[in-house]
């Protein structure tokens, strides 16, 4: 068996184990929360206690926990994520309806923040100690640490309200434009502020990571050698420095991409963006366990897959990794 294949199998098994643990935690975490999901229905005082009992039976909430767990795993394996208490629809539909909005928003802002973040990180490391470095470092740290809802509301107030450049809420105008391109433009117009917010608060992560690893790399002997060989600074930086410094960043990027489906709960809520993040928030408020559980399963799977790919990529990018631990 080739070493690469072995590595692949090992990583796959790890991923599957992680997945099993995750979905198990995912199941129990909702069961230990206080309050009963049906209580929300009764609390809205729309159900009689007797009907509430029926609902419990129907959703299997009266079964012992282990039976509920088996039912849950069985359903998961058959691709059934459950039925939303609140939306009265299969969870998968509920999530899928909102997934495109979220993927577009998060995908766009993640890619943008990776590009900006890595770029600024490289500049910062290259010009270490300069004013540019200090400026980049300070701004990255600042944006990285401010609360996202605060910056979102600030943007709404300044760009949405005072300057009136962007709409305040939603993904589309009411009434919506009639033609296709008008709608697309309208959507992008609505997306600008939330995407900008998300980019601002997340690029810092990549900047800091890139800067730190690059600084580390730049002190290595082979960089000195490269310089001594008389290579141009640019070549040293790009070919010898960045390449080696990219490894941790790749992992970070992969994980971020995995979270694209999770949405951004706070940002989506602030901007009334109809995505998975807002769905999670609403589901939390209404104790819609199946939706929460379903959303978390999808997020877990997507993060685990992204990690898995990152692992493989890592091995591919840095040949030392894949063999080191598994050489017989």
């Amino acid at each position: 068996m080739s070493e690469f294949r072995r590595f692949l199998i090992q990583r796959t098994i790890y991923a599957i184990i992680t997945l099993i643990i995750t979905i198990t935690i995912n199941f129990f975490i909702f069961r230990v929360m206080p309050g009963d999901p049906v209580s929300m229905l009764v609390a809205e005082r729309v159900l009689k206690p007797s009907v509430a009992e029926e609902v419990r039976t129907r959703f299997g909430l009266n079964l012992p926990l282990w039976q509920q767990y088996i039912l849950y795993v069985k359903n998961l394996l058959s691709g059934y994520l459950g039925y939303s208490f609140h939306w009265k629809e299969p969870v998968l539909n509920v999530i899928m309806e909102r997934l495109p909005n979220t993927i577009i928003l998060l995908g766009f802002s993640t890619v943008l923040s990776v590009i900006i973040g890595v770029f600024l990180g490289v500049i910062s490391a290259w010009r270490r100690g300069s004013k540019i470095d200090v400026a980049i470092l300070t701004s990255s740290l600042m944006f990285y640490s401010v609360p996202v809802f605060w910056i979102g509301m600030l943007f709404l107030l300044v760009f949405g309200y005072y300057l009136g450049m962007f709409p305040i809420a939603g993904t589309i105008s009411r009434p919506p434009p009639q033609d296709y391109f008008g709608r697309v433009f309208d959507f992008l117009h609505h997306m600008t502020l939330p995407a900008l917010t998300l980019t601002l608060i997340s690029y810092g992560e990549f900047t800091l990571l890139m800067r730190n690893t690059l600084l580390d790399v730049l002190t290595q002997d082979y960089i000195v050698t490269a310089r001594a060989k008389g290579l141009r600074e640019r070549t040293v930086l790009v070919r010898h420095g960045m390449r080696n410094a990219l490894l941790p960043t790749v992992t970070a990027i992969a994980i971020s991409l995995g979270f694209i489906v999770s949405g951004a709960t706070l940002t989506e809520t602030v901007f009334s963006w109809n995505g998975v993040g807002r769905l999670i928030f609403d589901a939390m408020m209404m104790r819609d366990y199946p939706v929460l559980q379903g959303a978390f399963v999808i997020i877990s799977i997507s993060v685990i897959i992204a990690n898995y790919i990152a692992d493989l990529l890592y091995g591919f990018l840095d040949p030392r990794i894949k063999y080191a631990g598994y050489k017989g």
């Binding site: 005082r45 729309v46 107030l157 009136g164 809420a169 009411r174 809520t269 602030v270």
Partner: protein
């Protein structure tokens, strides 16, 4: 839970009060305004959007920016009123709210099971201060468990417990709760120990009530009691209060109409069970007897008397202590819209407003955009569970009777009704006489069969929302197309309310094959209400349009034929074969967009037709052309306007001057000259 259903949900929709528009705001006083005139005809706008905006902050910004036209429940925070009033384009409207804000005591638990102990607590609450500090004057002290906004049902003679710590201390002393060890905390006479620290459970999302509980804690310490605020997550609160009955005091809102539901649910012993409604856990046989009587009395006056009596009894025993009545503060964009109507509970965001509101400065038309904090989860009347659902459903579907702005019954689909009560065998017959010009949105007439079907459907499928209202129906008859007889096993006067006001009528032809009303979601809801459903863009908006066939549609808004004027014929004298232009000005004088065919008749024969579409008030010139081969005088007629033109034989024409040739020649000369000039200059 004898009466579940939409009670809690229609709360916001059904309550109403003195209509007010605000000229000036003076916090602390009720706001002066003048009554709004409303003819109960509509809709007057063209389109109605329910826009999902999930945070109050974003709603406020959207509103101030003009992206939405109104700001409704939960209203403008009192602290922001002044700021909002500064904008001349925004009008603020205040309405009384029928929500009931009590301090609920857990009467099952010592020492709250002691009536005098509860009275003592009532005396330490300075409600004036709460209204002043926390509501900034936008409210008033509550005096009864039936808020004043309930109109005739509110007993004005009931008075509460004034703020008086001395009195409270006296009562506590008398009960034996005295501070025996001198540590400033009263001791329990049973054990000699200090009384424990009591908690007031409040929803953690409401800063006003949290602060209120803290204030009460402060006042309590003056009389040697320890009370602290316990902000609690909503679901946990339900679990503790409704299921486990494990709390000292709590403060949450009961907002509903009608009052008999409120009383019979909140204070009947049968509701003192887990999941029941009797949160205070009060059990009193004479209360139960009175409530039972309330629910069967055939006479409205008697019902009122019983409800008034109950309010007196309630204040005696105070299982819960009425705190304050909030004033609802709404606002609308006065630069874009007009016609908003205030109603208690919802303020100006209610169905009457949607029917009456329209673009500013014109009699009809315009788009109305209403924000909702929570997206409705269904547009099926069978699945309604929250006020957000009913807000939209109430526009698409109709009831037999509606409640007007003053909370009176107003004939709606039923133009009249009567009740025959047979006390000897405890039954009654309700007869509804339906309007004959009501149609479903698909054009099918609404008949007695639909009403009969609806009542039986809700009863037979035990649709939880309506089951309490129809459970006593044993027979429904439709003797003719527009008469419905409902036979009930009860003499209760409120049956008319339950059947007439509470039930959304369903179209039989679309629902008779639906066997799972609790699952079924109509893709395109068809009702008979003032608005037709167009589109539900999930997560964004629900779009409805004006139902132009609505039986209450303003007659003057209906399409009127175009007005034609200024018939011009040019030239009026031509030669054979030459073209005559006939122009007429066409104007849409009405309030609807109209498409009409204008036809040109020459000598009584239709020669040409044009289909013209004009918006309200729009006017255009329409031109026809014709030519004749025979000389003579021709009569022209366009929809009543007449004129003539004359056609003459062609005279012997002189040789026509070859104009084209002349022009062509000139052009050729210019070109040749230009080329020549070019070559000459180049050579140099």
């Amino acid at each position: 839970m004898s009466k579940g259903g939409v009670i809690s949900t229609i709360v916001m929709l059904l309550l109403t009060l003195i209509p007010l528009t605000v000229a000036s705001v003076n916090a602390g006083n009720y706001l002066a305004g003048q009554a709004v005139e409303f003819d109960y005809k509509g809709p007057k706008c063209d389109e109605l959007y329910f826009v999902v905006i999930t945070t109050q902050e974003a709603q406020m910004l959207s509103f101030k920016k003009g992206e939405i036209d109104v700001l409704g429940w939960p209203g403008v925070p009192p602290a922001q009123v002044a700021e909002i009033m500064a904008d001349p384009n925004i009008h603020v409207v205040t309405t009384e709210v029928a929500e009931y804000y009590p301090l609920v005591f857990n009467c099952r638990k010592y020492p709250f099971n002691i009536t005098d102990f509860r009275r003592a607590i009532a005396h330490i609450v300075d409600r004036e201060k709460i209204v002043e500090i926390l509501l900034l004057g936008y409210g008033r002290v509550s005096t009864s468990c039936i808020p004043k906004a309930h109109g005739m049902w509110h007993n004005p003679n009931v008075t509460g417990y004034e703020y008086n710590t001395t009195k409270a201390a006296e009562i506590l002393d008398k009960l034996g709760f005295v501070d025996t060890d001198g540590d400033g905390i009263r001791n329990d006479p049973r054990t000699g120990e200090n009384l424990p620290e009591f908690t007031i459970m409040i929803p953690s999302y409401d800063p006003i009530r949290i602060r209120m509980a803290q204030l009460i804690g402060g006042w309590a310490s003056e009389v040697g009691l320890r009370i602290k605020a316990a902000p609690t997550e909503h679901g946990t609160m339900i679990d503790k209060i409704v299921v486990q009955h494990d709390f000292d005091m709590c403060c949450w809102t009961y907002g509903w109409y009608p009052p008999w539901d409120c009383i019979s649910l909140l204070y009947h012993s049968s509701q003192d069970v887990p999941w029941g409604w009797n949160d205070p856990g009060i059990r009193n046989a004479s209360w139960d007897a009175l409530i039972d009587e309330m629910l069967v009395t055939p006479d409205m006056e008697e019902l009122k008397r019983l409800i008034w009596t109950f309010q007196e009894w309630h204040m005696q025993l105070i299982p819960d202590f009425p705190l304050f009545e909030r004033l609802m503060i709404d606002a609308y964009r006065a630069d874009k819209t007009e016609g908003w109507l205030p109603m208690i509970g919802t303020g100006i965001v209610n169905t009457w407003s949607f029917i009456n509101a329209h673009a500013k400065g014109q009699k009809f038309g315009g788009i109305i955009r209403v924000p909702v904090l929570k997206e409705p989860k269904t547009l099926s009347p069978c699945k309604v569970t929250s006020g957000w659902d009913t807000t939209v459903i109430d526009c698409i579907y109709d009831t037999l009777i509606r409640l007007d702005l003053q909370l009176n019954y107003i004939p709606w689909i039923a133009k009249s009704w009567d009740a025959q009560i047979f006390e000897e065998n405890n039954t009654q017959i309700l007869t509804f006489y339906l309007n004959e010009n009501v149609t479903w949105h698909d054009g099918t007439p609404l008949t007695a069969e639909d009403v009969k079907f609806t009542i039986e459907y809700y009863r037979d499928y035990q649709v939880p929302t309506y089951e309490p209202y129809v459970s006593s129906v044993y027979k429904v008859e439709a003797p003719d197309d527009y008469t419905v007889k409902v036979y009930l096993n009860t003499t209760s006067a409120i049956s008319i309310h339950n059947i007439g006001v509470m039930l959304y009528i369903l179209p039989k032809h679309l629902w008779e094959n639906v066997t799972d009303p609790l699952e079924f979601e109509p893709e395109h809801p068809i009702g008979s209400g003032p608005f037709k459903f167009v589109e539900w863009y999930k997560g964004e908006y629900i779009k409805l349009v004006c139902n132009e066939d609505y039986f209450k549609f303003p007659p003057e808004r209906k399409a009127v034929p175009f007005e034609l004027s200024n018939l011009e014929i040019y030239p009026s004298k031509v030669h054979v074969g030459e073209v005559v232009s006939i122009k007429v000005t066409v104007k849409n004088q009405g309030y609807a967009t109209v498409t009409q065919t204008i036809s040109l008749k020459v000598n009584g024969v239709v020669e040409d037709e044009k289909a013209i579409t004009l918006n309200p008030g729009q006017s255009i010139d329409v031109t026809f052309t014709t030519s004749k081969d025979v000389a003579g005088t021709y009569n022209v007629e366009i929809d009543g306007l007449t004129g003539t033109f004359t056609v003459e034989e062609k005279p012997e024409a002189p040789p026509a001057y070859p104009m084209e040739l002349a022009v062509g020649g000139a052009v050729a000369i210019v070109i040749v000259a230009a080329i020549a000039f070019y070559f000459i200059t180049k050579r140099r």
